[in-house]
């Protein structure tokens, strides 16, 4: 589904990350973790073909990124709609269905669209508010509608950039379970960026941890460990397992003087809460 081979990316003339390797098969659920500014969103954009790689290669569904855009569902990071936008949630989902088509819809195309939209809206549990103007929906409600938008065309690959961002804990668990279910039952490959791995830990097949311009990828139990993160950051890191199975990462470096190839400021707070 996605094959990232020794890829590197530069933003604004600076190298952001390099030597990133990642392989995701159909029906696999992968998480992208790392501190703020590590380049998680940029990795998603590279997979979408919106950001070029400067070395290595990325293949998506066997093609170069961006070629098969209509078989990929995408949820960008932190979007919210204007409070007075007069468009219903249903119309937002509809854009995911045929928003990229030119010309007028064929007569009769509306029914199939409406049926499929009702189906995904129901799937994400947004039926109660999907007919309301989207600007009047809460952040969490908007997020569910946007997940429905990403799902509506039955993508084979789902790229979700911090979808749990504006959700409360029960909803984080519910959306994580929903994505996990879609991934298992429909064989969709999922790449989800997360700040906190715990709500999705039970569903994960793979983790890619970005930090300090490099990355490690693999099964979560191999990546989120003291040894691996210590190697990645180059300073001692400890991963603790709480009684309830939650992972807590301690001892991540404060913005260092040693790693000068990137801007320190944006990392400051993220370092302390990357994987709680």
């Amino acid at each position: 589904m996605v094959c990232v081979d020794d890829a590197a990316v530069r933003v604004g003339g600076r190298p952001l990350w390099s030597h990133v390797r990642l392989d995701i098969a159909a029906g696999e659920f992968a998480a992208v973790l790392g501190p703020n500014g590590a380049g998680k969103s940029t990795l998603i954009k590279a997979i979408l073909g919106l950001v070029p790689t400067t070395a290595g290669s990325i293949r998506v569904l066997g093609e170069r990124p961006g070629r098969l855009a209509d078989r990929v569902g995408y949820l960008p990071q932190r979007r919210s709609f204007d409070a007075d936008l007069r468009i219903r949630g249903l119309d937002i989902v509809r854009m995911g269905w045929d928003g990229d088509r030119w010309g007028l819809p064929r007569p009769g195309a509306g029914r199939a669209a409406r049926e499929r939209i009702a189906e995904v809206v129901d799937l994400v549990g947004a039926s109660a508010y999907a007919h309301r103007p989207v600007g009047q929906c809460s952040g969490g409600e908007q997020q569910r509608l946007l997940i429905a938008q990403a799902l509506v065309r039955r993508p084979e690959l789902l790229l979700l950039d911090e979808p749990l961002d504006s959700l409360d804990l029960p909803n984080q668990a519910a959306v994580a379970a929903l994505v996990g279910r879609i991934c298992r039952t429909q064989g969709v490959a999922v790449v989800m960026v997360a700040h906190d791995a715990n709500p999705i830990l039970a569903h994960l097949d793979k983790v890619i941890y970005l930090a300090e311009g490099g990355a490690v990828a693999g099964p979560p139990r191999e990546v989120i460990t003291s040894e691996t993160l210590t190697r990645l950051y180059g300073t001692p890191i400890e991963v603790l397992r709480a009684g309830d199975g939650r992972l807590v990462v301690v001892g991540q470096p404060e913005p260092p003087a040693a790693h000068t190839d990137r801007h320190a400021s944006s990392r400051t707070e993220g370092n302390r809460r990357a994987v709680r």
Binding site: G66, D70, R86, I87, R88, I92, D100, G103, L104, Q149
Partner: protein, 287 residues
């Protein structure tokens, strides 16, 4: 209104009125469609700036002794694209518009003086005709040209309706889906420019916002369904146009541009008492 209704069949016998009804309908439909997206994209201010560009372009053409419409369309389209280039991602931003604004209007005043002092009383009236339109003054040929151009704008908007809606509401996902968001932004601005030039012929550069913003604002207050709001905006604009023309025919002391824009504003006010764009509807500036 019944008096106006009874007057109509006779009115359509006058060529000048027939021309106004035909060209006016096409112009209004294009304005309603373009206006829907202007309001949706929060670019109403762009339409306002183009009114100033239209004034200057038309008077520059007159001062140069060429067809007024040549200057009109050249100015609105070029300024629309310029505004897009100054703003980010194919959208004109307020600061860019504000900077271009005053300079253009000043230039218009310069051409007006140049043209008015070069001829007789007729030349002196040119400024007023550009500012307030002269829809009852259209010849058959001018009316057909205006209608064909407006119909082409409508066709173009329909052809890009879905991707433009997507790009307006959700540019990041639209881009990921392969919609050329930036190019579409420029295409839209060019269409806004053409429409502004058209609307100037009907209601004048000072009042064109009444035709571009008021029906669209009204429609968006009345429905949350984008396809319906889009169609309703076009229908309302045509209704405003025809209603205004009829009222102006029945009461010859009432200029058509005033009647059209007053009706559009009245409907807007009726649909919605207090709104974000009310401040910018042209009727408030007509007096």
């Amino acid at each position: 209104m019944t008096g106006v209704g009874l007057a109509l069949p006779g009115a359509l016998g006058h060529p000048f009125f027939l021309h106004a009804v035909l060209a006016g309908a096409a112009i209004a439909a294009a304005s309603g469609m373009i206006g829907y997206f202007l309001v949706l994209r929060a670019q109403v201010f762009t339409g306002d700036a183009l009114g100033h560009a239209a004034f200057t372009g038309a008077l520059a053409a007159l001062a140069d002794g060429v067809d007024l419409r040549l200057g009109l369309f050249a100015a609105t389209v070029v300024i629309a694209l310029l505004l897009g280039a100054l703003g980010r991602s194919g959208r004109a931003d307020d600061i860019a518009i504000g900077s271009v604004f005053a300079w253009i209007t000043g230039l218009g005043a310069f051409f007006l003086t140049m043209y008015a002092t070069s001829g007789g009383a007729d030349n002196a009236g040119a400024g007023v005709r550009v500012l307030f339109g002269s829809i009852f003054g259209l010849s058959a040929k001018q009316a057909v040209t205006a209608a064909v151009v407006a119909a082409a704008v409508c066709g173009a908007v329909l052809a890009v309706f879905r991707p433009l809606l997507f790009a307006s509401v959700d540019p990041a996902v639209a881009a990921a889906r392969g919609v050329p968001v930036r190019v579409l932004g420029f295409v839209f601005l060019a269409l806004v420019g053409v429409t502004a030039g058209e609307a100037t012929q009907a209601v004048g550069s000072l009042l064109l916002l009444g035709l571009l913003a008021a029906p669209a604002g009204t429609a968006q207050r009345l429905t949350d369904n984008p396809a319906r709001a889009f169609v309703l905006s076009a229908v309302l604009a045509v209704a405003d146009m025809w209603g205004g023309l009829a009222a102006s025919y029945a009461l010859p002391s009432m200029p058509p541009s005033f009647a059209v824009v007053a009706l559009a504003t009245a409907l807007y006010a009726a649909a919605f008492a207090v709104g974000p764009y009310r401040r910018r509807t042209a009727a408030s500036r007509a007096g």
